[in-house]
Symmetry: C2
Subunit: 147 residues, 2 copies
Amino acid sequence: MNSASNLPDSPLRGFIGYNLKRAYMSLHSDFVASLTHLDLKPTTFSALAIINENPDISQTDLARSLAMERSNIVVMIDELEKRGLIVRNKVPTDRRVYALRLTDKGTALFNDASRAVQHHEDKLLEDFSFDEKEQLVRMLIRIQKVK
Amino acid sequence: MNSASNLPDSPLRGFIGYNLKRAYMSLHSDFVASLTHLDLKPTTFSALAIINENPDISQTDLARSLAMERSNIVVMIDELEKRGLIVRNKVPTDRRVYALRLTDKGTALFNDASRAVQHHEDKLLEDFSFDEKEQLVRMLIRIQKVK
DNA sequence: TATTGTTATACTCTATAACTATA
DNA sequence: TATAGTTATAGAGTATAACAATA
């Protein structure tokens, strides 16, 4: 007779990957919630961040940065453009590509979002010391490096 | 002019959540690959693990453990049953529920899978010391605790 | 009334293939 | 030939609502 109180996922707790997944999902759902009031999703927030840091980036390079397909970038950029957050500028030297830029409105929204996300993270990791956070990030980066 | 070589995701690297996501996705894709030869997915592997550890668990409790919807559990159990890996036993005391059990074939497959996953994790985290792994898991669990 | 298992459905994400215009 | 952007589509994964049988 299994009750809901003691979630019987213990056999999986021995795997680091499982703990990584649960931690990610926990943080992620909270992260999503912290952006809804700005009508942004993790992907759109990330896109704004990358365009903000890399003005005139192309859709293809943006796709690579986000590890998304170019085809899926299109509809996302369509939406952000329709909302007046970014613009697709023509590039004279190569008429195939668009140079993406944030509008003033896009920049303002990204700054708001950035603060919201930072606040969300500070609150969720408030019992972590600075050194612990740094150590955690170093470990997370090492995991990716293996690939 | 952005090249693909230096992926411009740096503005996001300051967020722990982003590093957590990238680490999770990196480990996850490798994890998926380590199970394909047994025709298992992360979810089916987890289901087998939980049923193995908790014989006669109901579908509803399994759903709670996996953080999945009951409706989606049904089709997954259908598939595992069709493959002869588990059985749905009737429960005399409550005729609404099924008691899930691994078959011998299911147990054997789960043991194989368990070894494969362990091997995958050992290989991917081979440059982590035992203490480091332990410390990482402790931190990942702390992140979930906040919720 | 509430719960278990079930079905159907819808919605989001992601992946693939084919097209156009440019290079 | 190769590449950028685009369109359409298909496949996962996940979420919701309604139902029959049973408690």
